[in-house]
Symmetry: D3
Amino acid sequence: MTQFTHFDTSGQAHMVDVGDKAETRRIAVARGSIRMLPATLALIQEGNSKKGDVLGIARIAAIQGSKRCADLIPLCHPIALTKVGVEFEIESSQPVIHCTVTAETVGRTGVEMEALTATTVALLTIYDMCKAVDRGMIIDNVQLLEKQGGKSGHWQATTPA
Amino acid sequence: MTQFTHFDTSGQAHMVDVGDKAETRRIAVARGSIRMLPATLALIQEGNSKKGDVLGIARIAAIQGSKRCADLIPLCHPIALTKVGVEFEIESSQPVIHCTVTAETVGRTGVEMEALTATTVALLTIYDMCKAVDRGMIIDNVQLLEKQGGKSGHWQATTPA
Amino acid sequence: MTQFTHFDTSGQAHMVDVGDKAETRRIAVARGSIRMLPATLALIQEGNSKKGDVLGIARIAAIQGSKRCADLIPLCHPIALTKVGVEFEIESSQPVIHCTVTAETVGRTGVEMEALTATTVALLTIYDMCKAVDRGMIIDNVQLLEKQGGKSGHWQATTPA
Amino acid sequence: MTQFTHFDTSGQAHMVDVGDKAETRRIAVARGSIRMLPATLALIQEGNSKKGDVLGIARIAAIQGSKRCADLIPLCHPIALTKVGVEFEIESSQPVIHCTVTAETVGRTGVEMEALTATTVALLTIYDMCKAVDRGMIIDNVQLLEKQGGKSGHWQATTPA
Amino acid sequence: MTQFTHFDTSGQAHMVDVGDKAETRRIAVARGSIRMLPATLALIQEGNSKKGDVLGIARIAAIQGSKRCADLIPLCHPIALTKVGVEFEIESSQPVIHCTVTAETVGRTGVEMEALTATTVALLTIYDMCKAVDRGMIIDNVQLLEKQGGKSGHWQATTPA
Amino acid sequence: MTQFTHFDTSGQAHMVDVGDKAETRRIAVARGSIRMLPATLALIQEGNSKKGDVLGIARIAAIQGSKRCADLIPLCHPIALTKVGVEFEIESSQPVIHCTVTAETVGRTGVEMEALTATTVALLTIYDMCKAVDRGMIIDNVQLLEKQGGKSGHWQATTPA
């Protein structure tokens, strides 16, 4: 029967044993978005060209956040990340900013949580930097897009939000 | 003109000076959701009664996460939280789990980011604990619901998602 | 002559060189106890069935604490844990709660300190959660029970407390 | 009826609201011990005079550990410590080393957990530094000795171990 | 006789008692420099206008670093910073980049270490980002420029490097 | 053309992909100095023999700091250090204290930043412990002395400061 792996047979939480898993290259891609007022997006876009660089700072926060994943998520294994990349895409018509994070390791367990944590930290940082002008921003559609490596192989989201 | 407060007049990021602000009681309420498969929600609900307690662990992660906020969000001030409460609400029909976090301090700056960070850490923890059975879960509608205290007074989201 | 390995030949502290050690599977089991009033234990036992889950929270704190070991213990090497398990055993007659932690890695140095740190964090968390009703609780008999892997091989405590 | 304050009325864990408490000077004194082989104690005592300084390092670890308390203990409030002092006492006849930590703050909640955390980190550090020669050391009798300040006033352990 | 305050009368390190000090506004200004090859400085200057923003990232690292000060410096008190500002000045003729950090709090102890820690983290980050093209960069003249608030009043460096 | 590796081709910061690099033994040696008043150095030297041990504490802070490197430097990879050694050298005639740190790992990327971070944390700790008697101390000549391992092979500073 299907079970959550983070609980043992008596239902107690544990950090799952990955000691027997092979060290393979593991990749995870996560994505999320933040919706805002048109005026807020305009200020962010201005800043990228000549004033404060909101997205540049959110990118650094995301990379730093990926390294704090095991501190934040109780049952995550500590992982030595070998790569983290962060991309932003601006959709002015909505208006919305999308953030995509790619995380990689060569290790015994996947990096989905690192990619998802980095994504949310990026979006929270955008919120923080713009909240004085737009408290109503909404973080949305944070999800895993893709995962490679390990026993479960290649997985892709069938219905990206 | 409207400006982001996290940049000085030359457009450089700084931790905003709050030394002249009064120490007042400040409250923030944030909320977010995670959508999942019906079978995943069923497993979580089972666990709450007799097996692994997914929501209990996510609650602890949220409280711990609220204390790491200034570590994660670059321009946040360190804050001595005086209260953090975390509530979950299960909507079986969707199916979705909503998480609401109330954070408080007596200080010179607000606790919106602490409430939002705790909310996302709770949702990420739920994702982590259930991902072995449902990688397609989506974190959604993370937003500030309400804020009290400080110069800007009482604010409420006009369009809760 | 017998020497402490954490000091070099001139008596200065260093993080010992483990670069030449083989990467082997290493296991450590630690145990410790907390003694309390009968009424305190009764409240904890009630909570496990229907109110606040003291031991569930202590278990999560222990797992999180195992990951902070190298932050806390100055000369510890950072280690990528591959497994952490936490068991509680209640001895009502004393009354006392015992906590046993098993930690594992595949690496160049042992995980005794990770197991011991997790054990003490679990016991401190129990103290914290119950101190409003019983400030006189005592943490006792924290010790290494067993250790496998590495050059020194299998070791077991001869006189478990 | 007596209740654990770390749970709300529905039995869910929360960081207790201390926003209405007065900022008063709060002091806590904790104590704990580590038992070891006579030869181990002899090496430590030698080191204090001319080689590696085990107790000096444990003292620093304890002070650093006191500042990590809210990171480790899930429901602890973050606190701005105003003083931390660490004393060691060697009882050669046992042989055992006792560690006593005094922690202070001017704040809304007590510092018992900071004092207890610092004590256990000191003892764990002694274990770490001596484990190559004595794996059987046992940490014992970690308890709160005294507490001042706050609504509950002055408390002293009636039966120090 | 003049004494180091970080040691008690028996020469043991402690976190100095500041519980009796008044909460006053305290300001510290620190400064430091990094010397490099002309070609390295040229690449940094290019980046600021159109490619990678080395100084923007170093500024964020400095602000984040100021918040980690008490984690890094053993006897520092944890402090709630109320402001951190970071300025860079490029002296092309040397070539050298100067970094000046202003830190503030309203508290019982000074923020010199926060300002100095932020300065060195900024300079280390510049080193990290440019080391692939210039391993010989040198961090220089890190010093306290000015300090206000507290019992010792206003202090200024007499011989800025 | 020469480029900073910490930016991708569009100039965005990323944590560089090291997944294809070989795991080799990597060594870095960094050095830095702190200049002070003759009376300050005299107090430190006294302390080493019979009162507070400034350099012993700075050594521990350096080792702990080396483990926090990836937390502090945004684009650093997390690394499992296999050795950290810290040496101090007193030059009374200046007066100045030099600190040399050797860091090692067996991994996919170098440990220069770990060695440099540890060096600056040692020097900052000395500043902190002596600042009550000498606020004008200056940290100087922090640089990489040597680097071994990895694709770039053996590098030595041509002009040690």
